[in-house]
Symmetry: C2
Subunit: 338 residues, 2 copies
DNA sequence: CGTAACAAATGAAACGATTCAAAGACGAGT
DNA sequence: ACTCGTCTTTGAATCGTTTCATTTGTTACG
C-alpha cells in the first residue's frame, strides 16, 4: 500500500474489469449502482489517484494551458494570470505560468517545455520574434493567443488594450482641466509606451496652443520617476509643465514623491499628474493618483475564451480583441485649472 | 507533417530502431557518430518533440515540483517562487505554482491536482491542516517541504524565518534609538504576526520603562495602515507612541501616508516607523522605510534543496531550516532620539 | 581460420489510463 | 421455449516513450 495503486489494482480489489473502473470514473451512468459502490469503496481503500500522464498519453493532449508573461512580479501580468487561471479552471484546465523576464532565451525555453507537455494552447506576451514558432505550433494543432500585443489575424488570435486610446484619454483629461504645457514621462522604446505617447500627441494636436514635451526616463520604476521629478523641481517654475502624464504608475509615484517631498510644487494645483495601469498603490498614494485602468481580468478571461474558440474551429478562425482602457480620476488631477 | 511526429516516425525516417532514437536522446554515447547524425537530421526534418506524458508514464514520476502559496500577488511569495523556479531549473525540474488564496478548498484542489500529476515533491505554505495529507504523500513517496512554517521534523522538512527574532530586532532597534513608548500595528490572529509581536514584547521587557501598545489593524493593506495612522494623528501629541512597528510594509506605508499627509507628525523625529518584509516600495517611500528583510531567495532555493535531500534519503530524513531576518535601517528610523 | 571481446543496434515488454467492439445478463413479449 | 432489446460488463488494443536482454557487426589475437 506504500506505493500508488493503479486502476488495475482497483479492478482486482473490486473484482471487476479495468474498463469498468474507468467507466466509474468517466461515465458513471454506464455503471450499475451496485458495482459503482463497490469500485468507489476500493478506490477509497486503496487510496487510488488517477495517473495524469497515462491519461494524457491516451488522450493525446493535456488539460494544461501555457502562459508566458514578461514579469510575474508586475501587477498587470499577475492580474491577467489570475483571471486566466480562474477562467481555465471553469473549463477544467490548468494554467502553467512561465516568466520570460523579457529574455527571449527563457521565452524559448518555456515554449519548448510547453510543447513537450503537449499543452492545449499557449498564451504569450512575446519578447522576441515568435511568429515562426507560432506557425509551427498552429500546424501541430496548438493554438496561440497573443496577450497585450496585436496579432496578425491570419496567424493567430490576440487580446490587447488600445494603448493609443489610453494615451489619448490621459492627455485629453489633462487638457480638459485647462492645462496646456504637458510632459510625457516614459521609455518610448517600448512599443506600448510609444503608442501611449502617440495617443497623447494626437490629443494635444487637437487643441491649439497645447504642447507636449517628452521626458525619456531610465526605466519604468519608482526610482526613475524620482529622477525625472527632481529634474522638474530644479527647473524655474515658469519652465515646468502644467501637467505630467507618466507611462506607468510606478513612474508617476516616483514623480509624485519628488514633487511633494520638497514641497515646492503642489499636486494637482501646480502640476496635475496622471499615471497608467491603475495599480493598487495608485489609490493609496500620498495624493491619490489618477490613472488609466486596463481591463486585466477581461484580458485574461478573453484570452482563454479565444483559445477555446480556436480549439472548436480547429485553429482556423482567428480574432483580435482590443479592449478600451478607462480613465480613473482621483485627486492628483482633481479640481479646476489654475 | 501536420500532426506531431513520434519517436517511431523518426525511427522509420532515419531507418533505425526506436530504441536507437531513444538512445540518441538519452544516452548519446551509446550511439555511433554516423547514426547519431542521421537520427538528429530526421528529428530536425520531422520537427520531432518529445512527448512528456509518455516519458513520465514510463518513468513513473514527473520532473515537476508543485508549489502552493497563499497569494502570488504578495511580493514575498512571488520572490520565493522565483527563487524556487531558478533552483529547480538548475536541477532540470519545473515548478508549478498554485495560488490557494488562503482558501483551504483551493489548497486541497491543488494538492489533488499535483498528486494526479505525480509531482516529484511539494512545497507548501499551508492554510488548513495538511498534516494528514502530508503523511499520505510521504507514504506514496512524495516528499513535502513546508514553506514559511516550522515543521515537525518527524513528518517533513521545512524552511522558515524566525518571526519572533524579526520582531525582536525591530523593537530592539526602536528602543536603541531611545524610544520607550512603542506601538505594534498588525493582525495578531495570523501566526506569523503573532510571533513578531511576541518578539517585540520580549525586547520591550528587557528595557525598564519601555512599553508596547497593540493596535489591531483591519487587514494588512495600505488602507488599513492609513486608518491606524489617522487614529494616531487624532490623539493628543503626548499620547502618541514614540515609535511604531508594523507587521508588514504595506501597513507601514499606510501609516506613513497618514502621518506625513497631515504634516502634524514628523518621521522619524516625532514618530520612528519600521515595517516588515522590505518590499521594493519600502526604499522608494516618501520617507524611505526601515524594515525587516526576509531572505526570500534563500527560502526558495533551500526549499528545493531540502526536497532534493528528501528524495536522496528516500524520504526518511527531515530537516527544519530556520533563517534569521535582517534589519534594514533607512530614514524612517534614522537619527538620534528626541 | 576460429573465437573472444567489445561496440552498436534491435525490438518486444512495460508504464497506466481510455476506448470500443463484443459478450453476457435479464426481462418482456409472443 | 425463443427472440429481441436494453443495460452492464468485459478485456484487448492503443497512446509514445524507455529499458534491457538479444542479436548483429567489427576488430584483435592466438
Amino acid at each position: 500500500m506504500s506505493q500508488t495503486a493503479s486502476i488495475k489494482d482497483v479492478a482486482t480489489h473490486a473484482q471487476v474489469a479495468v474498463g469498468t473502473v474507468s467507466n466509474v470514473l468517466n461515465y458513471p451512468d454506464r455503471v450499475s449502482q451496485r458495482t459503482k459502490e463497490r469500485v468507489l469503496k476500493s478506490i477509497a481503500e486503496l487510496g487510488f489517484v488517477r495517473n495524469d500522464a497515462a491519461r494524457q498519453l491516451r488522450a493525446g493532449q493535456s488539460r494544461t494551458i501555457g502562459l508566458i508573461v514578461l514579469d510575474v512580479g508586475n501587477p498587470f501580468f499577475s492580474s491577467v494570470a489570475r483571471a486566466a487561471e480562474d477562467a481555465a479552471t471553469a473549463l477544467g484546465s490548468v494554467v502553467l505560468v512561465g516568466d520570460s523576464g523579457q529574455d527571449s532565451s527563457r521565452e524559448a525555453h518555456y515554449m519548448d517545455l510547453f510543447q513537450e507537455q503537449r499543452v492545449q494552447g499557449l498564451l504569450i506576451s512575446p519578447v522576441g520574434d515568435v511568429a515562426e514558432r507560432i506557425d509551427t505550433l498552429r500546424e501541430r494543432g496548438v493554438p496561440t493567443v497573443l496577450v497585450d500585443e496585436l496579432a496578425d489575424t491570419e496567424r493567430c488570435s490576440s487580446v490587447s488594450v488600445d494603448d493609443q486610446e489610453g494615451g489619448y484619454l490621459a492627455a485629453k483629461h489633462l487638457l480638459d482641466l485647462g492645462r496646456r504645457r504637458l510632459a510625457f514621462v516614459g521609455t518610448p522604446s517600448i512599443r506600448q509606451v510609444a503608442s501611449r505617447l502617440k495617443g497623447a500627441q494626437r490629443a494635444v494636436a487637437e487643441v491649439s496652443g497645447a504642447s507636449v514635451e517628452v521626458l525619456d526616463s531610465a526605466g519604468q520604476t519608482v526610482l526613475a520617476g524620482r529622477q525625472v521629478g527632481n529634474s522638474l523641481v530644479e527647473r524655474a517654475p515658469e519652465l515646468r509643465p502644467e501637467a505630467v502624464f507618466c507611462s506607468n504608475d510606478l513612474l508617476a509615484l516616483g514623480v509624485m514623491q519628488s514633487l511633494t517631498m520638497l514641497r515646492t510644487v503642489r499636486i494637482p494645483e501646480d502640476i496635475a499628474l496622471i499615471g497608467y495601469d491603475d495599480i493598487d498603490f495608485a489609490i493609496s498614494a500620498v495624493v491619490p493618483l489618477s490613472s488609466i485602468r486596463q481591463p486585466t481580468e477581461a484580458l485574461g478571461r478573453t484570452a482563454i475564451e479565444l483559445l477555446a474558440e480556436e480549439q472548436e474551429s480547429g485553429g482556423t478562425k482567428h480574432r483580435a480583441v482590443v479592449f478600451t482602457p478607462e480613465l480613473v480620476v482621483r485627486q492628483s488631477t482633481a479640481g479646476a485649472p489654475n
